[in-house]
Point group: D2
Chain length 352, copies 4
Amino acid sequence: MIKVGIIGATGYAGGELVRILLGHKDVEIKWYGSRSYIDQKYARVYKNMFELVDDKCMDDNMEALADLVDVIFTATPQGYLASLLTESILKRTKVIDLSADYRIKDVDIYEKWYSIEHKSPQFIEEAVYGLCEINRGRITEKTRLIANPGCYTTCSILTAYPLVKEGLIDPDTLIIDAKSGTSGAGRGAKVDNLYCEVNENMKAYGVASHRHTPEIEEQLGYAAGRELTVTFTPHLAPMNRGILATEYASLVKKADGAYPTKEEIRGVYEQYYKNEKFVRVLEEGICPETKWVEGSNYVDINFVIDERNGRIIMMGALDNIVKGAAGQAVQNMNLLFGLKESEGLELVPMFP
Amino acid sequence: MIKVGIIGATGYAGGELVRILLGHKDVEIKWYGSRSYIDQKYARVYKNMFELVDDKCMDDNMEALADLVDVIFTATPQGYLASLLTESILKRTKVIDLSADYRIKDVDIYEKWYSIEHKSPQFIEEAVYGLCEINRGRITEKTRLIANPGCYTTCSILTAYPLVKEGLIDPDTLIIDAKSGTSGAGRGAKVDNLYCEVNENMKAYGVASHRHTPEIEEQLGYAAGRELTVTFTPHLAPMNRGILATEYASLVKKADGAYPTKEEIRGVYEQYYKNEKFVRVLEEGICPETKWVEGSNYVDINFVIDERNGRIIMMGALDNIVKGAAGQAVQNMNLLFGLKESEGLELVPMFP
Amino acid sequence: MIKVGIIGATGYAGGELVRILLGHKDVEIKWYGSRSYIDQKYARVYKNMFELVDDKCMDDNMEALADLVDVIFTATPQGYLASLLTESILKRTKVIDLSADYRIKDVDIYEKWYSIEHKSPQFIEEAVYGLCEINRGRITEKTRLIANPGCYTTCSILTAYPLVKEGLIDPDTLIIDAKSGTSGAGRGAKVDNLYCEVNENMKAYGVASHRHTPEIEEQLGYAAGRELTVTFTPHLAPMNRGILATEYASLVKKADGAYPTKEEIRGVYEQYYKNEKFVRVLEEGICPETKWVEGSNYVDINFVIDERNGRIIMMGALDNIVKGAAGQAVQNMNLLFGLKESEGLELVPMFP
Amino acid sequence: MIKVGIIGATGYAGGELVRILLGHKDVEIKWYGSRSYIDQKYARVYKNMFELVDDKCMDDNMEALADLVDVIFTATPQGYLASLLTESILKRTKVIDLSADYRIKDVDIYEKWYSIEHKSPQFIEEAVYGLCEINRGRITEKTRLIANPGCYTTCSILTAYPLVKEGLIDPDTLIIDAKSGTSGAGRGAKVDNLYCEVNENMKAYGVASHRHTPEIEEQLGYAAGRELTVTFTPHLAPMNRGILATEYASLVKKADGAYPTKEEIRGVYEQYYKNEKFVRVLEEGICPETKWVEGSNYVDINFVIDERNGRIIMMGALDNIVKGAAGQAVQNMNLLFGLKESEGLELVPMFP
C-alpha cells in the first residue's frame, strides 16, 4: 500500500482527493492535514465521510510527513509549499503539488503574476509539469516533484494542444473564454462566494490578468515551438463543478491556400487522443457539456469550423476538481508509483 | 458474470442503474431497453456514457430478455410490468421491478391509488418488498421477483421504522414532510419540469394524495402490528438529486409516565442500524443533508426531541436515484445472487 | 416627502428596502447606514444600484438620524437596536425595527431564546407587532415603534391564523415545516452559506430551537386565546428567495361530531383575507409556490384536508425579504404616515 | 390609455410583457393571446398573476385585434407574423414584433438562416429595427412596424457598437462569446430544457450557426460602414435570466502607431451612452454581472484592454427577457406613442 499524506485536506480539492483515494485499492491515507481544523474529526468537516474516515485533522508538518508517507499531496495556497520544501523532504518522499508553485519554469513570471517571492526556486527545474497526456514520459518512478496543473489550464491546454502542435492554428490568435463552477473559488468564507451572490449570476473576473494565463502560455509555447500570448477570460458560473473552455483561433492555410478541413482537424485530434483514456473526442455535432463529465476524470473535446471566416471554435469540458485537480493528481501518483494510470480513476460521470 | 437486462434504461433511474452496474465487477449489461430511443446509441442519449457504453437501445422484449439474462431490471411506468409479466418469464429469469406494480399487497389499494387495473395480481403475493435493511431475510437466491421500494418510501420508512417497531412513537400522529430533487419527477418532457419552472422554487404537490402514501402505511403498519394512516406531503426542491424527509410524531410515554429520553431513542436507532452499512445514524446535533449522501447508497438519519411538547422530529436523507431507486435495486440483486450486499455500491458521496 | 434612514442598509433586507423605497413616490432615502462599508459608495456594494443611488454608506448614528429623518428602519443584528434606543430618539423620529428586539412581549422569553440581555425593555410594551393584516388597527400615525415581524413568522402566522382564531384546528397539534431561501441566512461571510455548501442541498436546522418559535407562539396564542406550543422546523433550500411553510394540524370536530368541510374552511379564509390585498387565498387544488410571489409583497395561501385522518395541511408562500422583511416594513411605514397601505408595494411577482 | 394586445402571451417574453405593462400607467391590456391555452384563465398559466389578471387566454386573431387595440405585440415563433401580416392590419394598428421576421433587411439571408420562406417580404423595408439607443430617431408616432431586436443581439451590438462605429476595433476580428439564462430557450416542453438537463451544466450550442449571427452582422455592419462577419457562440447557463456577452476584438492602431488608451476607449463609450438611461457604462475594474441587471431594462457594459496583445475584451450584461425582449418592446412602444421613453420601465434590478 502506498502511504499518502494530504496537506490542505479540507479544501475542495483536498476533499476530492480523499473521495478518490478512498476508492483506490493501493492507497492508504495516513494524514489529513488541515491547519483550520486541527484535532477535529475530518468527517465533521466533510460529513459525506461519516463512517468512511475516522481520522482527525492534523497540523501541516511536512517534516514528520516525509518520514511517514510515500507521497504528499499539497492542496495549499500559492507560496505555501515553496516556503517549506527542502531537499531533505524530497529525499524521503515524493510531492505532488496542486498549487502553482512549481508549474512555471521562469521564476520571474511566477513572481510577477502571483505577486509572491518564490522561496525555493531551486526545485523548479526538477519539477515535472504533470499534464499526463503530454508529459507522461517524464513522470516516472524516479520523479520526486510533480507540479500538478491548474484546472483552467488543463482544460485550456488539452483542448488546443494538438492543433497548436501541428501548426493548424495561428497561436497568436488564440482566445480562451472559460466558464467555471464555483468550487474553483475555494472554500474560503468570502462574501463573493456566498450562495446568493453566485446563484442566478454569470460574470467574468480576472480579465486579462488571471494567474493561469502564463501557465497556459508556457505549455502551449512548448507545443508551438515559440513564445506566444493568449487572451484568457475566466467566468464564474452558478454550478458546483465543471469548466467549459471555448477557444477561438484562426486556422492556418495549407500550402495550397486552403484551410484545413474538418476531417483533417478531426484526424489530428484522434491521432493525439485516440489512445488517451481520459480524453474523449466527441462525435461531430456534439458540443461538450460539463454535466457529462461530472465526478469523472474525463476531458470531453470537440470543435466547429466557422467556414465563413476561417476560424475554429474548440471546446473542452472537465470536472475542475477531478481532472482539473485531484483526479489528475492521482493520475500522476499512479505514474510515479508504476501503477496502472487509471487506477482508482474509473469514475463513471454522474448524471443528472 | 451476471447477465443483466434493463428495461427503461433511458429514464433517470435506468441511467443510474447503468452508472452503478458499469462499476460492478460481477455484472455484464446485455440489454439497454428503451422504447423511445430504439436503435439509437445509448451514449447519444446519456452522453456521460460516451466510450463507456457502445450498445444501442433495444425495444422492450421481456420474452427475449428472459432467455438472455439472469435478471431484468424494470424502470418503467406503473402498470407496464404487471401487463407483461408471466410465469414463463419468472421461470427463466429474476425480475427486480423499480415501479410500484408489486409493492402493495392489497390489490384494491394499488388500483385505487394508481387508478390502474392490475393485470397480474397473481404475482403480488410472491413478490418480496425489497427494502433490504428490513426484509433481508426474505431476499434469497430463490426469490424470483423483487418489488423495489419507492424513493420517498425508502427514506420515510427507514427514518421512522425502529421507533414504530419499538412502540416509542404513536403511529397515528406520524406526519411526513418530504422534499425531493427534481430527478424524481422523471425525464418526461413536461412544462412543469422545465428548468425555469423548477429553479428558484419550492412547492408541495400530491398533498394528501401521493401514491407513495399507502406503501409507507403498509410497511410501517407491519412494524406497528396494526393498520395506520400517515399524512405524507411531498415537495419539489430545486436540485437534481436527494430526498430529505422530516417526520413528526408524538412520543409514547413509558410505564413510568415519562417520555423516552434521547439516549433511549438513540439506543434504539443504533440497535437497528449499527450493523447496517448503508444506514448512518448521525452524531447528536448533526442534521442530515441531502448533499452529504449524493451519489451514494447511504441513508443518513437523526432526530431531535421537542421537549416542550413531547414530540420527536426524525430526519432522513438519501439520494433518490441511488438508495431510492437504482442503488437499492443493485443491493437487492446482490442478495438475489448471493454476492456481498455492498458489491458495486461502495460509492463515496460526492461533495460538493 | 418622508425622509428615511436605513441602518443596516447593506444586508439583504436593507438592500431590499432600498429597492422598494426607490420606487416609492413619497419617500426620500437620506441615510444608508452600514458599519461595514463606511464611506464606500452604496452602489459599489450593491452594484444593481449603479446610477440609481449615488450616496455613500454612513456609520450608524441613531442620534444624528433622529434629527434628520422621519423614520428609521433598523435591519440590524439582534440586540443592536435595544442597546441604542432612547426616549429622546423616539420623541424625534419613528422606528421600524426589522430585528426581533421588540417582537416578544415577555422579556424573559426573548432573553432565553436569543441568549441576549435586553437593554431597553421599557419600550417593549409600546412597540406594535407590525403584522399589518392582523394589527392594522394599532398601527397609526401616533405609533412610534414598530416591531416588524420575522420572515418565518409572517408566513407561519398568516397561514394558520384564521383557523386558529376560529377554533377550527387544535393549536396543540400545530406543526410548521418551513423551507427558506438562502437570503434568509444573511450576507455574512460564513462557510455554511457558500454557494457550494448550499447548492444541490436541503437540510433542516435549528430543529426545535429556532428563535422564531416563541414569536409564532405568542401571536397564535393571542388568536387562540391561550398559550400554545408549536413544533417549528426551518429548512434551508437552494434558492435565493422565498419561504414555503407547510403546516399540519388536527381539525376540531364541530358540535355535530363532524369535521369542518373544506367549504367551511375556505369560507373562513375568505372572510379574513378577501379584502387583504397582500394575502391571496388560491383556488382549490392550487398549491402555493414560492416562485409565484417572488419580488412581491404577496402571501399565497391554500390548504388540503387529509380526509382519512382529520388533519389539515395548510400552505403559505411569500418572498422572505419582501413580505417577510422589507416589504412589510414599508407596509408598516405607509400605515404610520397615513399613506395608502400598498403605496410603493404594487410589485408584480417576477416569473421566471 | 393605449390599448394593447399580446399574441403569444404565455411564452416567457409574453409573460414579461404582462408583468411590465401591468405597471405601465398609460396602458391597458385588452387581449392575452395564446393558442395553447385558449379559454383558460391567464392567471392559471402564470400563477404570479392571480388577482392581478382576470382575463382568459384568447385565440390569435390579428384581424379582430387590429380593430380593438392600438398596438399588437407578437411574441410568436419565427414566420408566424410574416404569414399573417397585411397592409389592412398595419393601417389599423401598430405592430411590435418580438420575433425575427422583420429584423433582417435581406430576405435571402433571413430565409437561409431561418430555413423559412418569408411570406410578407413587402413589409421588411418599412419595419424599423427597434434598438432604441441606436435607431431612436426612426421610431416615431408614424412608425407602424417595429422589429424588436433579439436578446443576444441587443447585448452583443450595444456592447461593441461605439467602438465599431468609431473604428477603434477591427470588426473582422470580432468574436462574441455569449452566455444566456434558460428562459431564452422558451417554455416549450423539451427534454433539453428540463431542470435536470440544464442544472449544474454549461454548454455551447448553435456554434457558428446561431440565427442571431446575421442580425448582429447587419447592425454592426451599418456601424462599420461595410459588411462584416463575426464569430458568435451562444452558451446555455444554469440560471433563469440574463445574458452576458464577452466580446473580443483587436484594437486598431492610431495614426501614431499606438493603440487607443483605455481613457480614449472609455471616452467613446461615455460619448455614446452618457445620456442613455438604460445603458450603464460601469466604473473601471467592475465587470458586468447578469444578477445586477435582473428584472430591469439596463444593459451594463465595461471593457478591459489586454495590453500584451492589443486586444480588447468588451463585456455586456442584460436581462434577456427585459431589455432583451419585453422591456425593449415597451421602450419601443413608448417611442411609438410619444410617451416618455422610460415610462413603465423604471424597474430597479432585484438582488439577490
